[in-house]
Point group: C2
Chain length 347, copies 2
């Protein structure tokens, strides 16, 4: 990077969406500039930008990129939203952000105003995300209390959002308040977001971090060293079931087995209240080579099959508390989730 200041996870400037290329970390810190809807779609699909909240923000800006030098029609923007919705299937924040952009299109009768209104809405989504990170940080920190040692999985930090992240926000909050806190980060195969991204951003912030393979968290939990497990989410159903990065579910089982509290931090936009439970969450199956060729080197013979679900579902009963920007949902169930969002359950 030419600048000495670290770039933002994502920035929108002069009609360009500038992303930290997360596929290149920790080896090099470089940005990728998206100038078209297609480039944004590709960046989301290739995980240049990832993490449920960041995907939503990127997609919102992506809709704005439908504007050519000649301008764009209402239909162009709608087509852009439809196309971006196909980039990843699981993170519900993507569809939530695109719905807000569609609503803006519908609400703007003067087509010449459309581009300005859409950029304004995308920036609003982005700004709300920053506020969300701070609130989750505060709410989660109240739960962590004097915890000294936290285990996390994948990356639900600043690189997954616009600022502090979700799962890592309470950790940043504690660190900023002067509390000694250290993090164990599962490397998170197949794409190693824990080793590559969580370890990178926490190190940058001066928070001690130790990387372990996903297979080591069981015996680490058994030592009694871990005060809490905290992860993010890609979609949360109305009953509190959580879809998150593959490996989250076994971690929840292991945390329960060792009586270590298991927390999930996510903004309201991650909740899919139309979905009764986790069984209805579509799970993205990604390509063979992510498993068979880690970091580009063949590690599975061609004759063997491979499975590669990107996410798993953790049932609500294994979640000790959901943390949102609005507050906490301890021992989540259908009723408590509905109440948290001010809804009344139909009986």
């Amino acid at each position: 990077m030419p600048s000495s200041k670290s770039p933002e996870t994502l920035e929108f400037s002069d009609g360009e969406l500038i992303l930290i290329d997360q596929t290149r970390l920790p080896q090099e810190l470089v940005t990728l500039t998206c100038r078209t809807v297609e480039e944004t779609h590709d960046a989301i699909q290739r995980l240049v930008v990832r993490g449920a909240p960041a995907i939503g923000i990127a997609a919102a800006y992506g809709v704005c990129l439908a504007a050519k030098s000649s301008g764009a029609s209402r239909q162009d923007y709608l087509d852009a939203a439809d196309h971006l919705a196909t980039s990843r299937p699981t993170a519900v924040n993507l569809f939530w952000a695109l719905d807000r952009m569609r609503a803006t299109i519908a609400a703007t009768t003067d087509e010449t105003m459309l581009h300005g209104k859409l950029v304004e809405e995308a920036k609003k989504i982005h700004e709300e995300d920053r506020e969300m990170c701070k609130s989750i940080g505060r709410n989660g920190a109240s739960l962590l209390g004097q915890s000294k040692c936290v285990l996390t999985h994948c990356n639900a930090g600043g690189l997954a959002t616009s600022m502090w992240g979700t799962a890592l926000a309470p950790i940043y909050h504690c660190h900023q308040s002067g509390q000694a806190i250290e993090v164990y980060a599962d490397e998170t195969r197949p794409l190693l977001q824990g080793g590559r991204l969580t370890a990178w951003e926490l190190s940058q912030a001066g928070i001690p971090v130790t990387v372990l393979t996903d297979s080591m968290s069981g015996s680490l939990l058994r030592t009694g060293k871990i005060d809490a497990v905290i992860v993010g989410a890609d979609r949360i159903a109305a009953n509190g079931d959580v879809a998150n990065k593959i490996g989250t579910y076994p971690l929840a089982v292991l945390a329960r087995y060792h009586s270590v509290p298991f927390y999930v931090a996510a903004p309201s936009s991650t909740f899919d209240l139309e979905l009764a439970d986790g069984a209805g969450i579509p799970i993205e199956e990604r390509s063979r080579d992510e498993v068979a060729e880690p970091l580009g080197v063949c590690a599975v013979p061609d004759a063997a099959k491979v499975m590669n679900p990107a996410f798993d579902v953790t049932p609500a009963e294994l979640v000790d508390c959901l943390i949102t920007e609005r507050g906490l949902i301890p021992k989540p169930d259908r009723k408590k989730v509905a109440e948290h969002f001010g809804r009344t359950l139909a009986h």
Copy 2:
């Protein structure tokens, strides 16, 4: 390989120990020839040859390699045994095999006979291992019954022994008997023995195998598709606690949580009856780069710490059955393990 026939995991011929170089699989099938004690020590340490029983056999042959063209003294052989004992700390079969070689040295009064006697003893250990594999295969198959789908971790197959292996022996037995059986193999980070070795040897044998990352076995078990989990062991304490490849313990917890039987297959030489329980088993901590640089590519920033225990300990209460060449030890405890070996417990 010039020969169309697949090489053996390890062979001793004309005073040379020839090993399949397991660090190169599945990309290429090449052998490494050890001509000295030091080369054998290095091959064990670098995991060219690995798997508790195979380490024992390799070390036994390694002692024979103390013989120079000028012959070797009793002390040379004893020094070789002492040195080879430092190559890996956890697998007890290593010490067991070296103790047999030391006993042979002690029992051979005529020094000119030493080399011949030692080669004879090493070949006997090797041959017994083949018989052990067949017996474990038969005993384990009786336990698997009509199981169609088995999950395993790491490699406790032919590459870890001289023939069928331990955990994979019942699977080879079922396959040879015409029973349809398929295997899910955890890739087993950090060194990927599941993806590289188990998948390779099962594919060679025509047994269907699917590789998954270690983080996926939780949700796989949740599907109900897996009939049994079967793994090997590096050391088993007198109460039935099992040290095995890191990631075994969480798998045992997950198997129990999903009511899937968890079996451990190992020869008698893996039992350390002097050790009361698993707490006393030394756990090898391996180098940072195995975690931080998977397959040689940097995936963890320098500022982050790394942990890399090679093994974990699974308490006996999570083991549904131990399988040895002598038979089965269901729900193992101190009394049953002692009885299995014809010992009477001191009270």
